[in-house]
Amino acid sequence: MTHVLAAGTNTDSIAVESVFWILAVLSVLAALAMILVPRAVHCALMLAVVMLCLATMYAMQGAPFLAFVQIIVYTGAVLMLFLFVLMLIGISSSDSIVETIKGQRLAAGLVSIGLLILLILGIGHAAIGPDTLSKTAAGTDNLSGIATLIFTTYVFPFEVTGALLITAAVGAMVLAHRERATPRPTQRELAARRVASGHLAPDPPPGVYALHDSADRPALLPDGTTSELSVSSALSPRDPAGEPRFVPADETLEITAESGEWEPAPSGRADS
């Protein structure tokens, strides 16, 4: 890292040039993968790759403070926030492949190609000079230079930023708050509900007397059937279609000794 920081102002360095091209190709590929992969978690990981590449580029361009802020704030905090919300909303949420608006992707591609040409032409016409950042501004004085600018020239935007952050925090709390529609049940009501439900004892835990000890395996009852009560209701919808985990009570199961798997008795219907 220090080597890259030190070489950042040396425009003739072959090492800096090769690092730039490697990072540029890597970040563009990761960005393309980000809009192409269907699953949101993979998108987040690709975005992390892009952000880390950009952080290294900041360090190469004489902005070590921004490089570390990029890693700590963006990759560390913002992306983790994305992942938290992904876990809450559903890790398996992926995009549908079908276009909801006809010709939307083609139109989006054409518009983006137009935007790319426009921006590249703009860059071509602009007079972008060589790197002129002084070694002191890029090196040890970077942090103090940025602090001087923030607390002198940009002190008003800085304070507005503070107000913005407080507003955002309050807004997030208001949006995430949920009023209780019904009063909280008391212990007496809970006890009465339990007695009325007919199940006084807790549900049997999964895996007890079963062949596997994973939580999505139902417990095996003494008569050879499985108990649906023993598996959390949140698990069964996630189970991919395939082997039925719950065997109705009128089917008897026998366990084959060699495979250890459940086999239906000849009278039962096939369950695969």
Partner: protein, 99 residues
């Protein structure tokens, strides 16, 4: 490396992010693409700062990061509220205001 390379890279990343915003249907992925566009802008700011030889561009990039963090917090909270109401994170399902 001259700053024009960095600006060109930031243009490419910005356009890729824009395509993602237009094409993707999952609201979280749309947010991530917006973050990609903001990052591309930051790269251009840092490149211009090193071109002009002062630190103003870096300070602006820092402010962009702060605003992006605030935007993500509020946006994800809205997303959570929509998900709680409609059980979906797709941008197609939040269509009550559609005429």
């Amino acid at each position: 490396m001259t700053p024009v390379h960095y600006v060109a890279l930031s243009v490419i990343l910005f356009v890729i992010g824009g395509v993602g915003v237009l094409v993707r249907r999952n609201a979280i992925v749309v947010f991530m693409c917006i973050e990609l566009m903001l990052n591309a802008c930051n790269l251009a700011f840092v490149a211009f700062a090193s071109m002009h030889g002062n630190l103003d561009g870096q300070v602006i990039a820092f402010f962009v990061m702060v605003v992006a963090a605030a935007e993500v917090v509020v946006g994800l909270a809205i997303l959570m509220a929509i998900y709680r109401a409609r059980r979906s994170a797709s941008v197609d399902d939040a269509n009550l205001l559609k005429w």
